[in-house]
């Protein structure tokens, strides 16, 4: 009797909302299955034929092999990536908040044209500037340093974030600025003690996206870094693939998983900020 009502309830659920959930869950599973597969393969011995997720035994050897397969360990690559990402976050936060405050709140000549220029640079493909940039960094002897990776962030080249901050600051009531001015605050004080604390949500979105973009960035490190002990995780992984070719997929997958973990962790912690961030600004 109990099972009959239970099954009847299940049927009713499926007929109502349930079918949607079943469909959405199945679709989500299919989408994430490649990632799951990679994850399980990274724990599967190499001699087991490539099977589905969960087949073929369990081993940690792939991680141990992969970690030190190249002359430089993956720990080093990861540390390098963290360093570059951290400095990039600092750079973007400093330069973009400063510029955004000026665009959103200060009066100055050329404000209109400069703002238009800032918007235009959002759409500019970076390939247009990359050749001369490379030449300049080459002539300054900065190839194989982190300067070409980090300097652009301190100069607000990622104007996405300037735009994001401008939009955010414009949403803050101007009476706050006026009150601060009445209390005798200069622009810098107003910026630092009044506006900036209120910008925390936008700052969070900027920091999270800067982290993910910098972490995933492959083109810039590929261009500028030449000695393996300076490689970032993305470049290290690509080098690893070139070195092992198609022979050691277990270890290659293991290291792929390792390089994805930080992005995944940020995603778990900050998913609200992420989805809100792209919803308002259209970031990738």
């Amino acid at each position: 009797m109990a099972t009959r009502t239970a099954s009847r309830r299940a049927v009713a659920w499926i007929a109502g909302q349930g079918w949607k959930h079943l469909l959405l869950l199945a679709f989500g599973f299919a989408m994430l299955y490649p990632l799951v597969w990679m994850f399980t393969q990274s724990f599967t011995p190499n001699d087991a034929v490539m099977g589905r997720a969960g087949e073929g035994g369990f081993t940690l050897d792939n991680y141990l092999d992969g970690w030190s397969a190249l002359g430089v360990s993956f720990g080093r690559f990861m540390a390098n990536s963290f360093l570059v990402a951290a400095l990039s976050i600092v750079g973007n936060l400093v330069s973009c908040t400063l510029a955004a405050y000026a665009f959103a709140r200060l009066e100055f000549r050329l404000r209109g044209p400069m703002f238009a220029l800032m918007l235009a640079t959002i759409m500019l493909p970076f390939h247009v500037t990359v050749v001369p940039q490379y030449i300049v960094f080459h002539q300054l002897g900065l190839i194989d340093t982190y300067v070409p990776l980090i300097l652009p962030k301190f100069l607000a080249v990622e104007s996405f974030f300037v735009f994001l901050m401008v939009q955010f600051i414009r949403g803050l009531p101007r009476t706050l600025d006026d009150a601060a001015a009445l209390d005798g605050c200069g622009q810098l004080r107003t910026f630092w003690s009044v506006i900036l604390p209120l910008c925390l949500p936008a700052i969070g979105v900027t920091a999270v996206f800067t982290f993910i973009w910098t972490w995933n960035d492959f083109f810039t490190p590929l261009l500028y870094l030449t000695s393996p002990d300076k490689y970032t995780a993305a470049l290290g992984l690509s080098t690893f693939q070139d070195a092992t070719g198609l022979t050691n997929y277990g270890a290659l997958f293991a290291m792929s998983v390792v390089t994805l973990i930080p992005v995944f962790a940020v995603f778990l912690v900050a998913q609200k900020a992420l989805t809100r961030g792209i919803a308002t600004t259209g970031l990738k």
Partner: protein, 317 residues
């Protein structure tokens, strides 16, 4: 009235001094603003506009990083257009990638967003799950995974085999199919436009949809007559954004082909060929010409999009 004249009278004699003061304050304010903007201005001049002009100049030269650039006039462009089959291959590959993968990706994003929009509980969870690939899609790790998924002994061939479809070998090593794997990868990252669609859908007032229902419009009609027209600005926004992004895709093609653009140049993205010309052959002049070509094409396509948008994008009221 008296007060006003009084004030005006008082301002009269002090006029020039006050004006000086105001001007000085204006100058000071401008100076402060430029201080705030200093990093951005340096970046725009030193890392954006300056390099753009430099690459325009370099595109008319032969420059190999050692020695001085030597002026060759239009030779680089001439070579591009008339004497370099690989250039045209890369144009074709990129065009196919942009034209096929972006609409597919957006269609997916929109379909799922509409399905999720009203009355599904646990929306936040689904949204997050579907969004995750967007964050990972441009990483080396996922490109490595993709290469494996579609290889001859990879998961896709395996799964297709179990449901009775016999795929002849892997797609990655097949010049006819290799680009398709990258299309699939781009469609897989439909999550970020989906989130934007969801935000747009939430702006559509319930009354409109209810009114359409009352008038007897079915679900399909409601979508095409009410929802989609109201959503066209968001569709347009996503289209511009994803197209510009697709033109610049690089990492997946590089990783899947180990930097070659193969097999048989079938994944030779424009950006990948630019990279090979500039930073492997160190033909900086030619790479600069290619960069300007890309810039002009993206600009033109975006302008075309804006021009065409007049005919299908409806801005409120």
């Amino acid at each position: 009235m008296a007060v006003v004249t009084g004030a005006a009278g008082a301002a009269g004699p002090a006029g020039p001094a006050a004006r000086d003061l105001a001007a000085a304050r204006g100058r000071r304010r401008t100076r402060v603003a430029y201080l705030f903007l200093a990093p951005w201005i340096l970046g725009v001049l030193g890392l954006t506009l300056g390099p753009m002009l430099a690459s325009l100049y370099l595109s008319f030269t032969d420059y190999r990083l050692s020695g001085a650039p030597s002026w060759v006039g239009l030779a680089n462009y001439q070579r591009m257009f008339t004497d370099d089959p690989r250039f045209w291959t890369s144009v074709g590959v990129t065009a196919r990638y942009v034209v096929l993968s972006v609409p597919l990706q957006l269609a997916f994003a929109l379909a799922i967003a509409v399905f999720l929009d009203r009355g599904v509980r646990g929306l936040a969870l689904y949204r997050s799950v579907y969004y995750l690939p967007s964050l990972l899609g441009s990483s080396v790790a996922v490109a490595v995974l993709w290469r494996r998924l579609f290889s001859s002994d990879g998961l896709v061939v395996d799964l297709a085999g179990t449901v009775g479809i016999q795929l002849s070998g892997g797609w990655i090593s097949d010049p006819e199919r290799a680009l398709d794997t990258l299309l699939v990868l781009n469609v897989w990252t439909f999550g970020s436009p989906m989130v934007i669609f969801l935000a747009g859908l939430r702006q559509i007032p319930d009354e409109l949809i209810e009114a359409a229902k009352v008038d007897g419009a079915g679900a399909v009609q409601r979508f095409f007559r009410v929802v989609f027209p109201l959503l066209t600005p968001v569709v347009f926004f996503n289209l511009i954004l994803q197209m510009i992004g697709a033109f610049q895709a690089f990492t997946p093609a590089y990783i899947v082909s180990a930097g070659t653009g193969g097999p048989a140049d079938s994944t030779l993205f424009y950006t990948l060929y630019l990279f090979q010309s500039g930073f492997q052959a160190f033909d900086m002049g030619y790479a600069s010409a290619m960069a300007w070509g890309l810039f002009i094409v993206i600009g033109a396509v975006t302008a075309l999009n804006f021009a065409a948008s007049r005919y299908w994008v409806h801005y409120g009221d």
